[in-house]
Every structure is written in structure tokens, then in C-alpha cells.
């Protein structure tokens, strides 16, 4: 069974390049200064591959997929799952 994952932004690392919002507009919009706003809730399964691509292509490596609250599985594990 797959765990639910959520998008997480390292706000200190993020400098508002906007790549994530271009790749995943379904879940990520930009505020008036170009910084990402993430939709609430887990990443829907059908957007998993796109979400993973957004994580991979963030130039500041500020975007991550994390197991949602209460799920003890590691972040890398759940990221790994999306690859499959």
C-alpha cells in the first residue's frame, strides 16, 4: 500500500524561481512576489509523477515530497515510491 505524500518547501532555500509552479500548476501557484503557494492536502496519485519531476527540477532543491503527518516512513522512501 502506498503512503500519502505531501509537498514541502524549504522556505529558507526557496528563492522564488517559479519552476515548480510551471511544472505543477495543479498544486502550486505563486504569490505576488513569485513564491510558491501549495494546495492543502496530499498529492493526488495521478499527479505523483509530475510532483516528482517538480522536486527533481527545483534549481534550489527546496521542494520535497514527504510522508504526510503521522506516517513514519522516511521522505526518501516515499519519494522513491513515486519513481516506480
Amino acid at each position: 500500500m502506498r503512503s500519502q505524500v505531501v509537498l514541502h518547501i524549504d522556505r529558507i532555500a526557496c528563492d522564488g524561481r517559479g519552476t515548480c509552479a510551471e511544472l505543477l500548476p495543479e498544486l502550486i501557484t505563486l504569490d505576488d512576489w513569485g513564491y510558491p503557494i501549495i494546495a492543502d492536502g496530499p498529492v493526488p496519485r495521478d499527479l505523483g509523477r509530475l510532483a516528482h519531476a517538480a522536486v527533481e527540477l527545483c534549481p534550489k532543491m527546496a521542494l520535497q515530497l514527504r510522508a504526510s503527518e503521522g506516517d513514519t516512513r522516511s521522505m526518501s522512501k516515499s519519494t522513491e515510491e513515486w519513481r516506480q
Binding site: 518547501i9 522556505r11 526557496c14 503557494i37
Partner: protein
């Protein structure tokens, strides 16, 4: 005479019973170690006994003590998290007091340093800390040094203490910022994860605890949970220090039992010096609440429906302009962003600017203002934008009528001076 001394319990009001768990009844002199030991005796500790550690943490959990620095997190749970760790943690006593109008941590360290030091020593014994670092406001670092010298003379403590003068600035008191300051000399917050109790200073588990919390710990360690719960509300036990600021007859720092009627709390400062319309409760991160509703409510988070934060209560005059006061406060809070995260760095000044325009009664993009307030929440590495958002929402609500007046180009206030000591930079 320092400002701390001036503010220390100046009022002497009949009628309201004074509580002296943390602060001495003689307000002018610090409690010496001899007087402290006369009153309370030495705090007995058995750091090598697992049974003692377990029982003591259990007692602290049962007391229901929560952090008095603002976040109100369970002290017992924090200690429990550290008990589970191997390795030698650090204990950091946080007396940074970055809240500009708050004085209670400074007054406590100046008056009752040994209670705080006892609590820090107890925490260190419980978690097996290698070192205790006292991060204290520069106004009181000498008092803390003097108290530690007294203790060293009789070899009271087994754990090594170090005093570090706190950094200035509103966010400097946030737990990870304190760790960052002690470790790297940079007083800005780190990211949220991992928790300090897992990986803090030098990558080691770190207990960061407000100095007032530690003072309570020094008492619970002696007198136990039942004694602690004799005062306070059932779900919010104990006493707390409050800083009563703004439109009071005699502003200052006072100790109150949580759950006391709010009007009685205000009487400790002689009551409002002028008719008041609202109270800012908790701190600059706090919540505005209408005075009429608050006065008869118990002074507790559940009674007032807002967090008590670091215990700041600002009385705001009926004649004042809440919009203008909010604009001033938000401009200050915007200036205190560490500038690490975009939404805080760019959003807060933009919000402050719109509020200033509202205050001046010129047309603004009010929808943008409220949308920005909603958007910044939860989008910082620390809680700074969240605290500002909470503050503004409560202000727009409580001062809603005045906001409408201003949007129509009017102001109903007769007094436009600030009732707060906001360290502004010459804007107003």
C-alpha cells in the same frame, strides 16, 4: 536605577491578593542565595538515579506546567523527549525576551535569579546535560553572573553554567534562533525540522526552556505537582508572570494565578488609566480582544479564547486609533523579519504599507491586504509570519468599525499618539 527596577511591581493595591511564588514580596533587592536557601532549602537531586529522574519528570507532567515563553508547550513532554535520548544534551535557559513591551523575564532574572538557576540545574540533572547555557537579556546578565558567583562559592551546582548575552531583535528569542545565536552568533531562526530536542546545538539534543518556566520547575522540584496546582485553573494550572503595559495607572510586571478574573489582573497595575477599548493579549504576536468582553472573563487561554503567549497585556485607550496602532505594530514586526523566507521578507512590508495607507485614510487595495495576510500564514521557516497574520486578523476584527471609517476617509479617534513602546524607525 534600571528600567527593570522601575517597572518591578510599583503598584501597591489593596483588594487584590498578591502572589509571591516567583517574585519576592520585597521588590527592590534581588533575592540572595542565602535568603533563597533560607526560604526554600536546597533542591535535592539524584541525577544518577533513573528512578528519581522518572519520578521527577512524572511529577512535572502531573503539575501540568507549560512553557511560559509563548508557545505553551508541555514542559513534561519536552523533558520526556530528552530522557529518551542517548548522548549528552545541552540545556539552554532562554531569557532573550525579544518582545519589546515584555519585561517579565528580565524582572524575574533580576529579582529571583536562583529560582531560575535551580530550575535549569534540575532540568540538566534530569536529562544528563553537559552544560547549561543561560541566554539572558543584556540588562540582567550582570545579575545572573553575580548569582552564579554566589553558587560557585558554596559549590552548589554539579553542572557547568555559562552566561551568554542575548541578541536583540524580535525573532532572536525563537528557540532555534537562540540555538543559532549560541552556536554561530547568528540570531535568526533555523528551519522547523528537526526538533531542537532531537538535534539542536552542535547537532546534540537541546532543551530550550524559557527562564520563567525554569523558575516554576525549581519550585515543582521541591514542592510537587499538587502544590503547583493549588493556584491556577484546572486545565491551566499554576501562576504566571504578566507584563501590564500601555494605558495602566502603574504598568509593570506582576504574578497572577491563571484563571483570575481579568479585571482583577488589570487592577494589579492600578487598573486602566483612561477608558479602554481593547486589550492586546500575549505579545506583539498576540491577539486583540475587545475590553468589554475580556474584563469579566477568567484570565486564561480558555477564558479569553486567545493564547496568553508570553504574558503581555496591553491596554489600549478608547480615544486611540486602533488602525494606526496596528499599522505601527505591523511595520515594526515587518522590520523584524529575518529576511530568510520570501513570503515574510516581501509580504510583511507590503502588508505594513497597505495598513499605513488605511491609517492615513487614503484609498488602498483592501482585498489585496486581506489576501496577503491569509497567504503568508504557514509559509515561513519559523512562526513569524503566522504570528503577524494572527495579530492583523484580530486587529481588523476588533477595530473593524474604525477600519470602515478609515476606508471612507475618516478617523474617529481623538488621540493619535501610540500607547506602546514600539521601537519604530521614525516613520510616525
Amino acid at each position: 536605577m534600571s528600567s527593570t527596577e522601575l517597572l518591578d511591581q510599583r503598584a501597591s493595591n489593596e483588594g487584590t491578593a498578591r502572589i509571591h511564588r516567583l517574585l519576592p514580596s520585597e521588590p527592590w533587592e534581588p533575592v540572595t542565595l542565602a535568603a533563597h536557601l533560607d526560604q526554600h532549602g536546597a533542591l535535592v537531586q539524584h541525577p544518577s538515579s533513573e528512578q528519581w529522574r522518572e519520578a521527577t519528570v512524572g511529577e512535572i507532567e502531573r503539575a501540568g506546567l507549560v512553557g511560559r515563553g509563548g508557545a505553551a508547550f508541555s514542559t513534561g513532554r519536552k523533558l520526556r523527549a530528552l530522557l529518551a535520548h542517548r548522548g549528552r544534551p545541552f540545556v539552554i535557559a532562554n531569557g532573550t525576551e525579544g518582545e519589546p513591551a515584555s519585561m517579565k523575564d528580565r524582572v524575574l532574572l533580576a529579582r529571583s535569579p536562583h529560582l531560575v538557576l535551580d530550575g535549569a540545574a534540575l532540568a540538566a540533572s534530569l536529562v544528563g546535560a553537559a552544560e547549561i547555557i543561560m541566554v539572558v537579556h543584556r540588562e540582567v546578565s550582570e545579575s545572573v553572573d553575580a548569582a552564579l558567583a554566589e553558587r560557585r562559592r558554596i559549590s552548589l551546582d554539579s553542572t557547568k553554567f555559562r552566561v551568554v548575552t542575548a541578541a536583540d531583535g524580535f525573532v532572536a528569542g525563537e528557540a532555534s534562533a537562540v540555538v543559532n545565536w549560541v552556536g554561530r552568533g547568528v540570531p535568526i531562526p533555523l528551519g522547523k525540522a528537526p526538533r531542537m530536542t532531537e538535534r539542536g546545538r552542535q547537532g546534540r539534543p537541546t532543551l530550550v526552556q524559557n527562564v520563567e518556566t525554569l523558575a516554576h520547575l525549581g519550585l515543582v522540584g521541591r514542592y510537587g505537582a499538587d502544590w503547583f496546582r493549588q493556584l491556577g485553573a484546572v486545565d491551566e494550572p499554576g501562576t504566571m508572570l504578566v507584563t501590564l503595559a500601555g494605558a495602566f495607572v502603574t504598568p509593570g510586571v506582576f504574578e497572577v494565578a491563571i484563571g483570575t478574573r481579568t479585571s482583577d489582573v488589570l487592577e494589579l497595575a492600578g487598573g486602566p488609566s483612561t477608558p479602554i477599548q481593547a486589550l492586546l493579549i500575549g505579545g506583539y504576536f498576540g491577539t486583540w480582544t475587545p475590553a468589554s468582553a475580556a474584563l469579566s472573563a477568567p484570565f486564561s487561554a480558555s477564558g479569553l479564547g486567545v493564547g496568553l503567549g508570553a504574558g503581555l497585556v496591553v491596554a489600549f485607550p478608547a480615544a486611540g486609533c486602533g488602525v494606526l496602532e496596528t499599522a505601527r505594530l505591523v511595520r515594526y514586526l515587518a522590520s523584524q523579519s529575518a529576511g530568510q523566507c520570501g513570503p515574510c521578507k516581501f509580504g510583511l512590508p507590503a502588508i505594513a504599507e497597505q495598513l499605513e495607507l488605511v491609517a492615513q485614510g487614503v484609498p488602498v487595495r483592501y482585498e489585496d491586504l486581506t489576501r496577503w495576510v491569509d497567504e503568508i500564514e504557514g509559509r515561513g521557516a519559523c512562526g513569524h509570519p503566522d504570528g503577524v497574520a494572527r495579530h492583523i486578523r484580530s486587529a481588523l476584527d476588533v477595530f473593524g468599525h474604525e477600519v470602515s471609517e478609515h476606508l471612507a476617509g475618516r478617523c474617529s479617534a481623538s488621540e493619535r499618539r501610540s500607547s506602546l513602546a514600539v521601537p519604530t524607525q521614525g516613520v510616525w
